[in-house]
């Protein structure tokens, strides 16, 4: 099933480096960065696909909370940053 999650909690994933200039929900600062899956949410439609279809109901895609280290993203900081990302934006790391 397309909406089955392929990643699990504690798994290391990389956000793809070039998501593109269309509408998507992956902030520039996580693109190309490696983080850890901390949540697996219910699958939901990919916003990119909803916009491309002109607002139609689209298939659900696995959806995760991914935790990154601030120093990886911004070169400094002792905190972490958790970003909600669709599986379409992610690949397995390492």
């Amino acid at each position: 099933m397309a909406d089955r999650a392929h990643f699990g909690v504690t798994e290391r994933v990389r956000c793809l480096p070039q998501i593109g200039d269309h509408h998507h929900r992956a902030p520039g600062y996580v693109q190309g960065q490696v983080g850890e899956v901390v949540s697996v949410y219910p699958a939901r439609p990919l916003p990119d696909a909803v916009v491309a279809s002109g607002g139609r109901d689209m298939p659900a895609v696995p959806f995760y909370g991914v935790r990154f280290l601030a120093r990886d993203l911004f070169g400094e900081g002792q905190h972490s940053v958790t970003v909600d990302l669709w599986e379409t934006y992610l690949e397995k790391s390492g």
Partner: protein, 96 residues
């Protein structure tokens, strides 16, 4: 990269954290907010399409506009794109 994607960017000055007693700074903002609710309930467009329309503003317009000015531009774009209002109506309302 689209103009909204500013996380980690520098050079935009301090964030305005001033508190206000009012949710809206002008009546037209409240009317626009209500209009967006009504249009969304009638499935005129999805929240993803609304975000996309805001992000598609050219950078000068995006950075030079207030929060609700961006909403107005985005909603106008969507209603025109979807043929829900004729271009003449927008021209007329905007004063030609």
């Amino acid at each position: 990269m689209r103009p909204h994607d500013l996380g980690g960017a520098e050079g935009f000055g301090p964030v305005d954290t001033a508190e206000s007693d009012h949710a809206f700074s002008a009546d037209w903002e409240a009317r626009l907010f209500a209009m967006n609710v009504a249009l969304r309930r009638r499935d005129a467009y999805t929240s993803d399409e609304f975000r996309d329309a805001i992000e598609r503003l050219d950078p000068d317009t995006y950075y030079g506009s207030s929060y609700y000015e961006r909403w107005l531009a985005a909603i106008t774009t969507l209603l025109l794109d979807k043929g829900l209002v004729p271009p003449e109506a927008v021209e007329e309302t905007a004063g030609g």
